[in-house]
Every structure is written in structure tokens, then in C-alpha cells.
Symmetry: C2
Subunit: 252 residues, 2 copies
DNA sequence: TTACCTTCTTGACTTGAATCAAGGCAGGCA
DNA sequence: TGCCTGCCTTGATTCAAGTCAAGAAGGTAA
């Protein structure tokens, strides 16, 4: 039996998941994001068979920790996670935020142990994809192999975007870019691209963007004063996308 | 016929490559870096068959450019390359340096077009690995598939290291880290870990580390004054590794 | 050899973001 | 209801790295 997953909005994690573990990839409304593949229905069945849909994670619980044995990669079904590394001197570096449909954990493949930790920013449901099964299946399904090569390659290019952002852009540009990125990712999930609730704290934003909390806060205030954003704590409304784009210094 | 590659030192590119195209992976002295695999000799033969060893690139020539169709990934045989992206406002962001035994070009997989450009910093010889052949071979050789998953995962974790460096560390720490990284990579190739010639300019170093040339130059001067490094233009000698490590703020 | 050009270094000054410090606000709990 | 406690904001000050400017050193070509 499969049940259609009716809502994967960020607050719907519990509702969506406690009773609806048995979603299949074929039915999942996120499959266009996480599995944009020309797979035969038979293939999808095989993939479904290896994927484990376990009970949801509560806010601030870890999906995995840096140094844990690497077993699986994970697709986010609902909710948001942050990935972070702890530096040698004990500070934290947020390396990414993961929204529904996105896949995390691939940095663990190289050493057979997770290179970063993943923590739920709110209630989260994930699909667990055991990596050895995925490898075996990939040798049988060239499309799937290619898909995972592409996913990892995308992660590389996204990291390179972040490197450029950190290396070249001002505080304003960094915050503007993150807002645009979240906006785009919401649009992909058919959610509003102009109004959303930030799942992460100012500290996390600052940490991700290489800025202090105070700077992040000041940038938000400035953008509000310029009528680019409407900021009410974590609720964000983009009032002027064009100005935001200009501020982010991105032509695309 | 295969000829043993006698020298892959950075200046030996021309000598090594104009007459010695026919090296095989089985004989290549870099294979412990680029192919640390338990492959049967028959497997290695199959891999050899798809790899193309073309004529060397001269300094400042491009191996590929951002936006080029993605066909292959490349293993560096001798010499050094830099990878860089051009930002929307026309500036350059160096995303990595690639030394002999290292593999580049994997960021092109996700879009079937190269996400960055690769330019020779000196005379360079590469092994070209056509990606579609590699994919096919990977479905037949699970070890090879796993190896490429691992290589890509390593690229991700290295990018995350750089993100952390850019986001959290001072100019001194960044330059110290790069010197240690180059030192380590030299050691892997059985070259001196304490004395080497930087293949890249100060501009490239600054660009990679998110610093200006002037700052890079000042850091080198400071390190020289502290008897940590001996700097003579591009010739570097590490006088005090422990202090350099302390300066880089890395316990490892 | 000189002349030119690029790359590197050093100094003086400026500036954007960090730090330090104080208060405000919202949500949870007694 | 009111009081914590943990976020978030705002202001004043400091500082690390950027900018601007000048000159030195190294490589290349005539």
C-alpha cells in the first residue's frame, strides 16, 4: 500500500510522516527534485525497495555526526537540516542547509565516515538510502549511476559558489544571495518564492555566510529600510526581487 | 609497448611527455595517488584503453573553459593547473590548484558543461579520461565506480575545508594552511615537503584565499621575519613546521 | 647591455565588519 | 500573570585587511 504524500511544507513534517511512512518514490511529490530520472517503473520499484523511511527527527536532533560510520545518504522529505563541521579549535562551520527534495550525506563517502554533522532545524523526515545497496543498484541501472555522479557534481559546484561568495562578496551581497537561494528552492517545491519562514537562526545564517550575528541583523535592518525585504523575526517577505538581485550582484 | 615514466617532477613535463605518451596506468609512478585501487591487471588494461594521453599544454594554455561541453575528466601527469570561475561582474575566483596525481574536471558532470576553467600554470601533461567510457566501465567494475564516488566525495570535503578557511580564518592562518597543503601534497609524490617552488603567482594565491596580493606578500614577509619560512620569490623553504602548523591553527 | 613589463614588496591611510556592551522581544513555564 | 531564557537588534569603538601609491626585483626581447 502506498499513500499519497499530500503536504511537505516545512511545518507539516509530523503530520506528513507519522502516518505516511509508506510513500513510494513513484508517488512522492518531491521526486521531480530528488529523482529527475527517466526510470522505468520497475526500476523505481527496485529503488523503493532499498530506501528506508524511518520515524521523524525532532528539532535539534542529529541525523548523523561528524566521524560516524558512513552507511547511507539521505533525502529530505520534510523539514530542514543544517550540516556543519566542528573546527579544530572547537568552533562550528555551517556548510549547508538542506530543504525537502535535497540530498545530504555524500561527503561521507570518501572516508567511510561522515565529514560533517547534520542537525534538524525543525521536525524533519528523511528517506534513508543505504549506500552499498545504492552502489549495487547503480551498476545495474546506468541512469541511476549517472544521477548520483550528477548529484555529487552539483554539490561540488554549489560549494564553489559558496567559496566565491565568501571570498569576494560583502555582507550585503552574501545575505542577499542566501535569501535568493532560499526563494528559488521554495519555488521548486511550489511554495511561495516571496514569502517564507526562515528555518534557521541568525547565528546559523552568520555562521554559514562567514559573518557575525550582529552583521546579519544589521543587513536585514538595512534591507528593510530600503524596502527590499519585510523582516519580522523569521518571517521574510521579499518586496523587491530586482533590487535584491542587484544587491546580490548576480546577473542570473 | 609501455615506457616507464622516470620523472614527473614539475619541471620535467616536456621531457616526460613528448616522447613518453605511452605510459600505462600500471607503470605510472603516480598510480598510488590517482588510482589507489585493488584492480586486476586485466582491469587496469581496460582502463588504460579508454585513457588518452595527449600532447602537453604550455604555460597559460587552457585545458578547458567554463561553459565548454563536458566530455572528460583529467588526471594531472606533470605540472600544475589552476581551476577558476569568472564571477558575474567579471572577476576571477580561483577554486583550486591541481598537482600531479590529482583529478580535475568533475564539476562539469552535473550540467554536462564545465563549471570552471582550467589553466596551466606551467607546462602540463594530463591523462584524459572520457566520461562516458568511464561510466560504462564503472558499471562493469564496482571498484572503479566506488573509486569515483570517493574521488568526488573527497572534492566535496576539500571544498568544505576551504569554505571553513575562508569563513573563519585570518590571513596568516589561510596562507599557512596553503603552504602546509602544498607541503603534504609534495610529500605524497615523494618530493621534499620542506623545500619547493610555488607554481602559482601571489595574485593566484590571494585570489584562492580571498586575500589581496599585498596581504599575501605581507604574510610571507612576516613569516620570514619569524623564521618560519624562507621566501625567495617563488622558492619556499619551511624552516619550522611546528610553528607553521600552530599558525595555521590546525591540530592535525 | 639596456629597456620594458610584469610581479612582488613595503608604507600610509581608509574602511567594512568584528567586538564589546546594552537593551528589547517572544515563547515557555511556574 | 509574570519571570526567565534564548534570540535578536542597535549603538559605540576597534582592528584586520583593503586600497592607493611608489618603488624594487626579475624576466624577456631587442
Amino acid at each position: 500500500m502506498t499513500i499519497h504524500l499530500t503536504d511537505t511544507g516545512d511545518n507539516a513534517a509530523l503530520k506528513a510522516c507519522t502516518h505516511e511512512y509508506q510513500v513510494s518514490c513513484g508517488n512522492c511529490r518531491l521526486n521531480s527534485i530528488c529523482l529527475p530520472l527517466a526510470l522505468e517503473s520497475d526500476d523505481i520499484q527496485q529503488l523503493d525497495d532499498i530506501i528506508q523511511r524511518s520515524k521523524p527527527l525532532q528539532k535539534s536532533q542529529h541525523l548523523y555526526r561528524e566521524g560516524d560510520d558512513f552507511q547511507s545518504v539521505y533525502a529530505v522529505r520534510s523539514g530542514t537540516l543544517k550540516a556543519y563541521k566542528t573546527t579544530d579549535d572547537g568552533r562550528e562551520q555551517v556548510t549547508g542547509f538542506y530543504f525537502p527534495g535535497e540530498i545530504l550525506g555524500m561527503d561521507g563517502i570518501s572516508n567511510n565516515s561522515h565529514a560533517s554533522s547534520a542537525k534538524a532545524l525543525e521536525t524533519v523526515a528523511v528517506c534513508e538510502i543505504p549506500f552499498t545497496s545504492l552502489e549495487k543498484l547503480s551498476t545495474l541501472m546506468p541512469n541511476l549511476q549517472r544521477h548520483f555522479f550528477q548529484l555529487m557534481s552539483r554539490e561540488i559546484t554549489e560549494d564553489q559558489q559558496l567559496i566565491t561568495l565568501l571570498s569576494k562578496n560583502s555582507a550585503d551581497e552574501r545575505v542577499a544571495s542566501l535569501m535568493l537561494s532560499i526563494s528559488t528552492r521554495n519555488a521548486r517545491r511550489k511554495l511561495s518564492s516571496t514569502q517564507f519562514r526562515l528555518p534557521m537562526s541568525r547565528v546559523d545564517i552568520g555562521n554559514y555566510l562567514g559573518l557575525t550575528v550582529e552583521t546579519v541583523s544589521r543587513v536585514f535592518s538595512r534591507m528593510q529600510k530600503m524596502d527590499i525585504l519585510l523582516v519580522d523575526n523569521k518571517e521574510i517577505e521579499i518586496l523587491d526581487v530586482d533590487s535584491l538581485r542587484r544587491m546580490a550582484n548576480l546577473s542570473a
